[in-house]
Structure formats: structure tokens, C-alpha cells
């Protein structure tokens, strides 16, 4: 469990990146911070591994105040996956994945075994172990990034727009992989994205943020879609348009659901059972 309590971050030039933010992130669930760019979601994420230290307030992981822990040790105990993978270009795939175990003093041999194991977990063929990042596609690099984040078997995995730079088809594939992985691994995942569909797909808890890391709404995807807190949230998540504004259409063969453009999206099987 990760707790933010009255956390603020302001910079010397006076910008308030985060203002009085409090939130509890449940263990072994995926929490997604979603908001437009500059809303402070990445800052919140980077506070968890002390890449950014808050100006005031406290952050606790499993009841322990993180500011009392050495930053380096804390970071090694938390997996971090970033956009464009952030792989070391002069390390092979296996060396990249094994970075943290090697830093923790594991032997070359055992950390390589671990790297190969993780490559299988994230769906990369072992034959890629000795390639360099630039020889891989964007999607493959991102898989290496995820494997590297998991290398020290952390309880917490921080993901900063990890699928932001890959094409939509690969992104959908990686999202499904992450859902599968999470079922297997049961980590506490904190995920940052500006894509509301990605947030609803992956999040158990979704936090919608506005400038200054102001919480507009916190809840499960269903809760948010069923009861958006205000008009801004409603418009941000798009309940008034596209595939989230469905209406019932009567046809000779039963009732179907159509989206705002009049395209049929699905069949209504049972009336009212969802309430």
C-alpha cells in the first residue's frame, strides 16, 4: 500500500506541480493516474521512488515513511518502466534486464539466468538476449523495459506512459500482455497515461487529475463511467461521444446498442441485468 498525505511540490520558480495531494494506492492492484500533460501525474509517480522529493507532506510505503530511506536502495526495490524504454544503448538485452540484480551484487551468471527467465515472462525469444536495444523494434524494447522493471522482483512497479511511443496495434498487444502479467505476478502497479481508454482498460483504480495534480475523481472505471463527478470528467472520459455514448435501437431481431455516430456496437442480451 502506498499512501500520499498532503503532498505538495513547488519549484523555485513558483510553479506548483502538485498541491496538497492525498491518496491511498491499494496493494496488488493497478492504479492509473490519468490527465492531460503537465497535470503533475509523472511528478506524483516519481515521488514514489524519490526521483522527486516532495516539498511538503509525506509518502509512505507499507506504513513506512520513504523520505527516511536511502533513495538508491528504495529505487532498487521498486521497478520502473518508462516511455521509450530508457534502455542503456551499450548494454545487451540480457545485460539491461540484469542491471539491478548486478547492482545488488549478484553474479554475472545468476543474473543472466534471471534475465532469460524474465525474457520468457514478457514474451521475448531467448535468441534476443545478446542483441543491443537499437536492433529491436519499439514494442520489443518496451518488453525489455518491463522485464528490467521486474528483475529484482519488486512489490511495486511504476510505469510512466510505457506504451506511449509504440503504434496502436503494438500498444494493444502490450496492454493485453500487462493484464496477463498482472494476473500472474500480482504487483502493486502505478501507471501513468494520458489515454483514458488505456486507463479504463488497465486500472482497478483510476485517478483523474487536473493541473497541480488536483484529483477530479477517484474510483473504478465502472464507478467513473456510471457517475462522473462533474461535467469536466464526463467530457474528459467522453461519456457524451463515441463508443461511450450508447443508445438502444430496436431492430426486428431484437435490441442493439449504437454509438453516437449511429454505428452498431453490440447486442443487448438481457435487459436491466447490469444494475
Amino acid at each position: 500500500m502506498i499512501e500520499f498525505e498532503n503532498v505538495s511540490k513547488h519549484y523555485v520558480d513558483g510553479t506548483m506541480a502538485v498541491e496538497n495531494f492525498s491518496l491511498t494506492i491499494p496493494a496488488r492492484k493497478t492504479t492509473v493516474f490519468v490527465g492531460s500533460s503537465g497535470c503533475g501525474k509523472t511528478t506524483l509517480l516519481r515521488m514514489i521512488n524519490r526521483m522527486v522529493d516532495p516539498s511538503s507532506g509525506s509518502i509512505r510505503i507499507d506504513e513506512q515513511e520513504i523520505s527516511t530511506k536511502p533513495a538508491v536502495a528504495l529505487r532498487r526495490s521498486i521497478g520502473y518502466v518508462m516511455q521509450n524504454s530508457g534502455l542503456l544503448p551499450h548494454f545487451t538485452v540480457a545485460e539491461n534486464i540484469a542491471t539491478v540484480p548486478r547492482l545488488e551484487g549478484q553474479s554475472r551468471k545468476s543474473s543472466r539466468v534471471r534475465a532469460l527467465e524474465l525474457m520468457e515472462t514478457v514474451g521475448l525469444p531467448a535468441s534476443m538476449a545478446d542483441r543491443y536495444p537499437h536492433q529491436l523494434s519499439g514494442g520489443q524494447q518496451q518488453r525489455v523495459g518491463v522485464a528490467r522493471g521486474l528483475a529484482s522482483d519488486p512489490n511495486i512497479l511504476l510505469m510512466d506512459e510505457p506504451f506511449g511511443a509504440v503504434d496502436p496495434i503494438v500498444r494493444a498487444e502490450l496492454q493485453q500482455e500487462l493484464i496477463r502479467l498482472q494476473q500472474e505476478l500480482d504487483k502493486t502497479i502505478v501507471f501513468v497515461t494520458h489515454d483514458i481508454d488505456e486507463a479504463f482498460l488497465l486500472g482497478d483504480q483510476v485517478v483523474i487529475l487536473a493541473a497541480g495534480a488536483q484529483k477530479l475523481q477517484v474510483g473504478s472505471p465502472s464507478e467513473i463511467i456510471e457517475d462522473p463527478a462533474n461535467d469536466f470528467v464526463a467530457s474528459f472520459i467522453g461519456t457524451d461521444r463515441g463508443a461511450r455514448a450508447l443508445s438502444v435501437k430496436h431492430t426486428p431481431h431484437g435490441r442493439v446498442l449504437v454509438d453516437s455516430q449511429g454505428r452498431t456496437q453490440g447486442r443487448l442480451i438481457e435487459d436491466g441485468s447490469s444494475s
Partner: protein
């Protein structure tokens, strides 16, 4: 053409390669000055450049200081330092002159090498839990090495061309035949000396060009999709290194 033939004849004459004042001794002195100077300058400028590159602080000061150092005429400085240090300390005065000449290129090579690294790579290394020293030794130094070697290459070429002036204060080196020849109006000797320096500089340039290729870490040599910044900066540094042979050529022309 006649002069060049004479110069080559002078160079190839066995008499030039005999005794304690032979060309092999002068060549040895010339190389020794170059190596010692670049080594001392490297011990000062490389750690300083790395510190600037790693912390991002002090860049303006370094650029300013390097600019001043580049603008100081080496010949004038050498004479001034000999006067200040006294005639008994001429070698020290010469080494200090050449060290000041070598520092700007080395400093620039060290810090631009770091600056050319994708910030995201370093950020990721830190986020994974590398200490600052681990970031320095495992990420920044290996990735910054090609540009640093470029800086060394540039420094060596500038120094090797400039060590020629050491002969003015009687310290030997390949400048000696040039200066002696000028006094004796023996232009075959002047050109012969200049040719030696030019060939030496070209040889060193080839060696360092190879070293620069070898310094590129595996995995970075291929298509650098992820580092457009790095490619641009590398080109810039190349331009910088290319200045030295040009500078040398103009020198050579003046002397012949």
C-alpha cells in the same frame, strides 16, 4: 618543386639521422613534449569536463575559460613564461604553454561527450537505483568516450603542431631544423622540418581516427534512431577536430 626535392634529399641524407642532434632525437623530443603535455592536460581537463558534464554546472565558466585559453597566442605565452620562470626552467615554461593549449579541446571533448547522451538514458539509470558514481562509470564515461577521444585527437594535433616553437627557446624538437634553416637561409632544411611535423601530425591523426572508431561502445555503432542529438553533436566535434590539420597546413605554407 625543386625546393621540395631538395627538402626530401635533405631529409633522407644519412647525415641528418646521425649523432645526438639527429632527426631521430628531435623526433623523440617532439613526441615526448606532446605526450607529457597532453597527459598533464588530460589529468586536469578530463575529470573537470566529466564533473561539468555530470552535474551540468560550471559549463559557462568552462566555455569562457576555454575561449580565453584558445585566444592566447602560444608563442607569446612561451616567451613570457620563459621570462617569468627564468632560463633554467624553460622546459616547465614550454610544458605549461602546451598544457594550456591542450586543455580547451580536452575539456570540450569530456563534457560534450556527456551532454550528447540521451537524458532519458541517464534518468532511467538513476531511477533503477544506480548511484551517481555508477552512473558516471557505467553509463556516462562509456557513452561519452567517442567524443572524448575526439577531443584528445584534436588536442594532440594542436600540440604536435605547436611544439615546433619549443626550438625557439632551445628545447629541441622538430622545430629546430626550421629555425636553424631560417637563420642559415637553408630552405631545404626549413621545408624538411616542416614536412616531418606534417607527416607526424597526419600519422597521429590516422591513429586517433581509428581509436575514435574503437571507442564507440558496442550497440551504439549502428543506426542511432534514439539519439539524434548525439549524431548531430558528434558531427560538430568532427568539424572541430578537422580544424587542426588545416591549421597545420597553413603553418607549413607560411614556413615554406
Amino acid at each position: 618543386m625543386d625546393l621540395i626535392n631538395k627538402a626530401i634529399q635533405w631529409l633522407l641524407a644519412p647525415a641528418q639521422w646521425e649523432g645526438s642532434g639527429g632527426l631521430q632525437t628531435l623526433l623523440g623530443q617532439h613526441l615526448l613534449f606532446t605526450v607529457v603535455t597532453v597527459a598533464i592536460a588530460g589529468l586536469i581537463a578530463i575529470p573537470a569536463g566529466w564533473a561539468i558534464g555530470h552535474t551540468g554546472k560550471g559549463r559557462e565558466i568552462a566555455v569562457g575559460a576555454a575561449g580565453i585559453a584558445r585566444a592566447v597566442p602560444s608563442f607569446g605565452l612561451l616567451i613570457l613564461l620563459v621570462l617569468i620562470f627564468g632560463v633554467l626552467h624553460k622546459p616547465e615554461a614550454a610544458v605549461l604553454t602546451f598544457v594550456l593549449l591542450a586543455i580547451p579541446s580536452l575539456l570540450a571533448g569530456a563534457y560534450t561527450g556527456f551532454e550528447a547522451i540521451d537524458r532519458k538514458t541517464i534518468d532511467a539509470a538513476r531511477a533503477m537505483g544506480m548511484t551517481e558514481w555508477q552512473i558516471l562509470f557505467k553509463v556516462e564515461i562509456p557513452l561519452g568516450l567517442p567524443l572524448l577521444v575526439g577531443g584528445i585527437r584534436s588536442a594532440v594535433l594542436q600540440v604536435v603542431a605547436t611544439v615546433t616553437i619549443a626550438a625557439y627557446v632551445n628545447l629541441g624538437g622538430l622545430g629546430l631544423p626550421i629555425i636553424t634553416g631560417l637563420n642559415l637561409r637553408r630552405f631545404d632544411m626549413v621545408l624538411g622540418g616542416a614536412l616531418m611535423v606534417a607527416v607526424l601530425a597526419l600519422l597521429l591523426d590516422v591513429i586517433f581516427a581509428l581509436a575514435q572508431k574503437l571507442a564507440v561502445p558496442a550497440g551504439v555503432g549502428g543506426v542511432k534512431k534514439k539519439m539524434p542529438g548525439k549524431v548531430a553533436l558528434a558531427n560538430e566535434a568532427d568539424k572541430d577536430t578537422n580544424k587542426s590539420p588545416g591549421y597545420l597546413k597553413s603553418n607549413e605554407k607560411e614556413m615554406s
